[in-house]
């Protein structure tokens, strides 16, 4: 059995959006399989239109297919209608590239970008015909591996995933390929041995090689079973983004997907230090792509893909050292055709200037989103999102003055120390933004989008007890009432889904049984509101004798062990604890790219350095540092692109 297409094709005529399953995107590959090639099936455990754009998966797809001894194909979670057809006809999960059964591959490699997709991982493994539990798998089964931001707390999936990759995947996939190649040559006989070998690859965590200890409900610790298995698994980091100009041939889907545009990653990592933001904490340090390379990737990507929109992506794109020049040159290159639009996701208001605004509006304009995250300056000091009201208002003014009519504002509710004054501050900001817009256009509008805060591992807020469902509902109602007669609108994320995310986010290995129960009860596609039901999660917790409040709303003490203590993002525990205390004291912490190093542990611990093109912050705004930025920073490991200067900056 190698090509399932003849049997799949008649089923596709009966399902919604059949083109989800045909592959054939521009940039896709149909690799040759063979005994000397390690076969990876890269899976995004959500619907095709959510998974296809994932850049991490596309980067690994290219890197692996460039290797003569490896190949990669893709798969996405089949929607419930096709899943039913597959099960009814006895067909397994398949790759979309050559429609092979998933078990034709040596590895099923999942990208985990969100906790609520975990039940889909189990469903995909089961549909593949592989036992969902690690303990039940035999030599005939492929290895189930996972990477992505969620693996910084791998424990909730530890019973189902053979090996996790922590951190950047660009280099480690090749090392895993070597180990699996040897296993494949040996006839894939000894599963235990290959897992043992994988456990010694830096950045790889093999949960079955570790023992978990509890004391009643309390988690005590995780320790390796063998001496050659590391007690702490450190994340992988690629030192220089310039070495990895991927994806070179971004996939162009045949049907509409989210983020349906060319995406060019400007930099990885962020040191703004927002305390709620796991991505910013675990991806340090900042590594910028050389501006010339970014420009080339934009030009070639547009020409090759036929896209008419490009997004310059990162965790805070306006912080890119050469942002105005880059935006300007893209705009100049495209002017004349008048047909390419540019978007800058994750814009910080303090770096969004009239200069950037006027450059973008020369090409086609897309919606503009800012993320002040909290309604008052006090609250923003707590979360260390150090943008002032003036920053937001001048960004809004710049946008409306350059012709934008709609501005979207992202906020979190349920943050530590939050009071109703802070919540209502969100309404106040949204109202004032509309007010500013009205000076420029009658059609000005603003939407405040609020999401409940879920504390994440490896952040200063990992000790914080999440707000209850009732409390989040109360805060949403407060905002709705306050904006009832306002032109500013409010949208919110379902507090019940936020609660389920909270169960998993800081869950330990015992949560695995809960995930399995939710999956067995039919709880797939939990990211989709029409498929989500908190009752399933609460029932599963009750059946396992676990207290949801203990996992979600309980404040952690400084003494207790955390289920992810054996996974290292490089951040000193003392730094995180100190930053948590600083948050409660309403003290902000400046960005270490431009101000003195406070030694979070990452650069010093891993001998890494920031790679940035400019020693000064981008123009405009307060930059939230509250410091004289002209004064030389002290002892920050920074390498400047395009200069010979390296290493620590002079004192």
């Amino acid at each position: 059995m190698s090509d399932l297409w003849p049997r799949l094709e008649p089923l596709l005529a009966r399902v919604e959006k059949p083109a989800r399953y045909i592959g054939m995107e521009r940039g896709s590959r149909r690799p040759e399989h063979g005994p000397d090639r390690v076969a990876w099936l890269l899976l995004y455990p959500d619907a095709y239109e959510v998974g296809l754009p994932n850049q991490g998966l596309q980067i690994l797809y290219e890197i692996l297919n460039e290797r003569p001894d490896a190949l990669a194909e893709r798969s996405y979670a089949p929607w419930v209608d096709l899943e039913a057809e597959l099960r009814a006809h006895g067909l397994p999960l398949f790759s979309v590239d050559t429609h092979r059964p998933a078990t034709d591959f040596d590895l099923l490699a999942f990208n985990l970008s969100a906790e609520l997709v975990y039940t889909n991982l189990l469903n995909c493994v089961d549909l593949a015909g592989v036992p969902v539990r690690v303990a039940d798998r035999g030599p005939q089964h492929p290895l189930v591996v996972a990477g992505g931001h969620c693996t910084y707390n791998p424990e909730p999936l530890a019973d189902f995933v053979d090996a996790f990759v922590i951190g950047d995947g660009e280099e480690v996939v090749s090392e895993i390929t070597e180990v699996v190649k040897a296993w494949k040559r040996s006839g894939r006989a000894n599963r235990e041995a290959v897992l043992r070998d994988l456990a010694t690859v830096p950045g790889v965590y093999v949960p079955s090689m570790y023992e978990v200890e509890y004391d009643g409900p309390q988690f005590v610790g995780i320790t390796p079973k063998y001496s050659d298995v590391p007690a702490i698994v450190d994340k992988r980091t690629i030192a220089d983004l310039a070495d990895w100009p991927y994806p070179k041939e971004q996939l162009v889907p045949l049907i509409e997907v989210v983020h349906d545009r060319l995406n060019v990653e400007l930099f990885r990592g962020c040191t703004r230090g927002c305390r709620f933001c796991q991505a910013g904490m675990i991806t340090r340090p900042v590594r910028e792509r050389p501006i010339e390379q970014a420009r080339t990737m934009v030009q070639q990507g547009l020409r090759r893909s036929g896209y008419d929109e490009v997004a310059l992506t990162s965790l805070s794109s306006a912080d890119f050292s050469g942002i105005e020049g880059l935006v300007g040159s893209i705009v100049d290159e495209q002017s004349g055709t008048g047909s390419v639009s540019l978007s800058l996701p994750s814009l910080r208001v303090d770096a969004f200037t009239v200069g950037v605004a006027s450059q973008i509006q020369k090409v086609r304009r897309t919606g503009l989103t800012f993320a002040p995250e909290a309604g008052t300056w006090r609250m923003r000091q707590v979360i260390n999102k150090l943008v002032t009201e003036e920053d937001l208002y001048s960004a809004a003014d710049a946008a409306f003055s350059q012709g934008w009519r709609r501005v979207k504002l992202y906020f979190l509710i349920g943050l530590p120390t939050e009071t109703d004054v802070d919540t209502l501050g969100i309404a106040e900001l949204a109202r004032n933004v509309v007010e500013i817009g009205k000076r420029h256009t009658k059609a000005a509008s603003a939407t405040a989008s609020v999401g409940g805060f879920v504390p994440k591992p490896h952040t200063p807020f990992q000790w914080f007890g999440q707000n209850s469902v009732a409390e989040l509902h109360r805060k949403v109602a407060l905002l709705r009432d306050d904006l009832r007669r306002s032109p500013a609108k409010v949208r919110w994320h379902d507090p019940e889904a936020t609660f389920a995310e909270g169960i998993v986010s800081r869950g330990d290995r015992r949560i695995g049984a809960v995930i399995e129960r939710v999956w067995r009860a039919g709880g797939t596609f939990q990211e989709w509101s029409e498929r989500f039901d908190l009752t399933r999660w609460l029932d599963a917790m009750a059946a396992e004798g676990l207290d949801p409040e203990w996992y979600v709303t309980r404040h952690r003490t400084g003494e207790e062990a955390q289920p992810w203590d054996h996974i290292a993002a490089g951040l000193h525990r003392d730094f995180l604890w100190g930053d948590w205390k600083a948050a409660l004291a309403e003290h902000g912490l400046p960005d270490c790219r431009w101000t003195p190093c406070y030694d979070c542990g990452v650069c010093t611990g891993y001998a890494l350095e920031h790679v940035v093109a400019s020693p000064t912050p981008p123009a405009g705004g307060s930059q939230g540092t509250g410091q004289d930025l002209a004064a030389a920073a002290v002892g920050v490991p920074v390498r400047f692109l395009g200069t010979a200067r390296e290493g620590f900056r002079a004192r």
Binding site: P18, I22, M24, R26, V252
Partner: protein
């Protein structure tokens, strides 16, 4: 107005294989991208948000294949037919191929206005060729065939017989060729299959397995025309033609 800023071109293309599962809007986007990949000099509409002037013929149902799809696009400058065929096909998904090009006269009527009938080849299942052929004969013998049809979510019972312009069973095969009218409204292949099931008891288990649109026709002066063969731009420039007419 068509032709006021450039050179209108009509293209015929095929849609074969797995790409049959993409919809009409996806096809439109695939062409927009293919035009950009091919770096075609497109003419843009005037106004606040300029867009290329592209228009398509009648939509093809998701899952159907076709050897006869058409679109009109306006170029800012004239291009060789061979280059259009090669470069646009190069930018399209696998299975979509440009198979013919014609330069249109200015102010040629649009495909949506002009396409009068559509031909399909329907491979069926559930019924043997003899029963199928009998159902076709029964169908053709009737002057009225009322079947339930779904339109915009509402169910009506309609007489489909006048819209079926031709219907033939291929000898010894479970295949029929059918030509349906687009007016007063386009008849769906599924409705024809329902009609066949209705007229013959032996054809009750009939189901459509694979549908290929084989032709589209424009009616002009009582004759049927392949859409690439009407409204061609004359070889002499329009101005010259007009000048000659004035002389005569």
């Amino acid at each position: 107005m068509r032709g006021d800023t450039g050179f209108p071109v009509r293209m015929r293309y095929a849609k074969r294989g797995p790409v049959r599962f993409i919809g009409h809007r996806d096809v439109a986007r695939a062409f927009e991208r293919a035009f950009r990949i091919a770096e075609l000099p497109l003419a843009f509409s005037a106004g606040f948000s300029p867009h290329p002037k592209v228009s398509f013929g009648p939509a093809l149902a998701v899952g159907y294949e076709s050897d006869a799809e058409y679109l009109d696009v306006e170029l800012a400058e004239a291009l060789a037919d061979e280059r259009l065929v090669r470069d646009v096909t190069g930018g399209l998904p696998a299975g979509m191929t440009v198979t013919g090009v014609t330069r249109l006269a200015d102010r040629a009527p649009s495909l949506q206005e002009e396409i009068a009938s559509l031909g399909y080849r329907v491979t069926t299942g559930g019924v043997d060729p003899v029963a199928l052929s009998a159902a076709v004969e029964a169908f053709l013998a009737l002057s009225e065939i009322r079947v339930p049809v779904a339109r915009k979510g509402e169910h009506h019972v309609e007489d489909i017989r006048p819209s079926v312009l031709a219907l033939t069973a291929l000898p010894g095969e479970s295949v029929v060729d059918v030509e349906v009218a687009t007016r007063p409204r386009t008849l769906r292949v599924a409705d024809v299959v329902t009609g066949l099931r209705t007229v013959s008891e032996d054809a009750a288990p009939l189901e459509e397995l694979r549908v290929v649109r084989t032709r589209q026709w424009i009616e002009r002066g009582g004759a049927r025309w392949e859409p690439l063969d009407v409204d061609r731009r004359s070889e002499a420039p329009e101005g010259a033609t007009r000048a000659l007419e004035t002389c005569a």
